[in-house]
Symmetry: C2
Subunit: 186 residues, 2 copies
DNA sequence: CTCATATGAGACATCATTGTCTCAAACGGA
DNA sequence: TCCGTTTGAGACAATGATGTCTCATATGAG
């Protein structure tokens, strides 16, 4: 018997392949009748909204697990750098599951999700700002840009693995070093 | 009288705001009747395909204008670096217009566009490989990853300007320096 | 075993979009 | 001015997706 979570998991998996899959397709992907799918989620929007919420949950959980707030408040460069390291690896793991949410045009357009996303960005940016203040990250760019850069690299990482250009196991190191030190030879 | 190019321009502009706009909406945006729109483009797919083609044209034109092939063949580090600089600025200008094409799920899924896109990636990657061979870019990562990283930063740049976090005029410098030297303090 | 519950299959109406077609009006060059 | 061409508005059928509903069946707890 497929639980609500099973359905969400199957939908997530499938939407990563085809972000525009219909309810019928998603039902099949979950091994469930279309009627049953609608019993769990009144509308497609409901389903997407729930997935969006879960992806934001994961994002928030990663910020918590890495203790971004604690690191930001610590003013300890080494702790902040370690936190950034940890955070990036967690984000990469999150996008293994919710990668499609990075660019989905519904999710990035739903008002309440957007509002919550803004608050998470705020939390993340506090870490970047602290990193800048303690000399860990360069201070000559807006801290929000660093957030965007990380986001962009997550999109890039997803594509790179998808295209088979980078093995998944190399991603953490690759993304971290690209983010921190860039592509130039040293 | 709206020419075909006018319509394409209006559609491009509008799709950057709403990537899922219907033919009716796109017709209105172009100041043209829906029937007229269909006289120019038999189907929505035709329209999208044409836009995809044009965005690839721009991409190719930027590779040409920056003479990526010439720089790659030159084995001259300074020329290669200048070429990268030039290329990034051109890509940013291109995504001012065709930014939506970066993440649109139709465009990134059409077979012939995809094939042509692959060939352009190939050309671009030759430059990255040459940059690695001449010590301009780090050689400890797959050259294709550098292509993905640039792509990701373009997506990030688009969002950053869209969100008002970075003024457009700062983008060239910001993206270039982030790509080359990363976010770490030096 | 029995019964309450959950399920799958399918019928159904609805809706938005698409693509075609017609026609009257506007336009533009000769 | 006149006439051929292009246009916009709207009607139209077709399509695919959505959401609701029914009913027969399967399942699982007691």
């Amino acid at each position: 018997m497929a639980t609500r979570d099973d359905i969400l998991a199957a939908a997530t998996r499938h939407l990563n392949v085809d972000p525009r899959a219909s309810m019928a397709v998603l039902a099949t992907a979950a091994g469930v009748g279309r009627a049953t799918l609608h019993r769990h989620f009144a509308s497609r929007e409901d389903l997407l909204h729930e997935l969006g919420t879960r992806s934001l949950d994961r994002w928030a959980a990663s910020l918590d697990a890495a203790d971004a707030a604690g690191a930001a408040a610590s003013s300890d460069p080494e702790r902040i750098l370690a936190c950034l390291r940890d955070l990036l690896a967690r984000f990469l793991a999150d996008s293994d599951d919710f990668g499609f949410a990075l660019t989905d045009s519904y999710l990035t357009g739903a008002d309440d999700l957007l509002a919550r996303s803004d608050r998470l960005v705020e939390r993340e940016v506090e870490l970047y700002a602290a990193a800048q203040a303690t000399g860990v990250l360069r201070a000559d760019v807006p801290p929000r840009w660093l957030g965007h850069a990380v986001y962009g690299l997550l999109v890039a990482a997803r594509e790179a693995v998808r295209d088979g250009d980078v093995p998944r196991r190399d991603l953490d190191t690759l993304v971290l070093s690209t983010f921190l030190t860039g592509a130039q030879s040293r």
